[in-house]
Symmetry: C2
Subunit: 97 residues, 2 copies
Amino acid sequence: MPESAHCGENADQELASLAKALGHPARVQIIRFLVSRNSCMCGDIVEHLPLAQSTVSQHLKTLKEAGLIRGVINGPRVCYCVEPTALERFKHLVAGL
Amino acid sequence: MPESAHCGENADQELASLAKALGHPARVQIIRFLVSRNSCMCGDIVEHLPLAQSTVSQHLKTLKEAGLIRGVINGPRVCYCVEPTALERFKHLVAGL
DNA sequence: GTTGTTTATCGTAGAGATACGATAAACGAA
DNA sequence: TTCGTTTATCGTATCTCTACGATAAACAAC
């Protein structure tokens, strides 16, 4: 299994990638907001943050690309929620430091 | 106590700052290296990473400014070690997500 | 179809991150 | 003092991040 030969380095890269995604206060707030509400629409997040809608959308994209959240299209809206496995994975990797 | 009125936001900022410091693979590797050895000289880290000495020094500065490591001058060398309280604080903040 | 609502993307400006080589600073040893 | 070792800092080029307004895309309702 050549994959696991570098699992340590991969874990470093994975942890760094997740940490980077949470390396901005607005994105931490978004995650907390989603955890507290289980799920919500993009508009709710925009109202909750002192940022323009386009900026919030960009932060959501960053979190989505890191795998920390998921967006389900619901008519003209998008319902966002945390990806529990990714968040737990992050907690696990951090706890292992 | 006006300080604690915004402790939630402060925690977000604190978590984001620590996460940002760990948002690069090289810095994750440095932290792991220091944890595994308890402490070591800068040169050891430079040898362990595929980066120039100046680049490693810059990463060390980033980690130091985030409070995650400490550098003790020892003659012409500098002995680096993790700041256990900061690392535990980070683990605690992440676990609370 | 048109209209209004919601979200994503584009374009862009400014700030910060990342890497390196070159150089400076600090110190022990000769 | 002079030399060698070790680490930090400077200067720089390139890239990424962050923010915004403007615009496009998707859809419900009419």
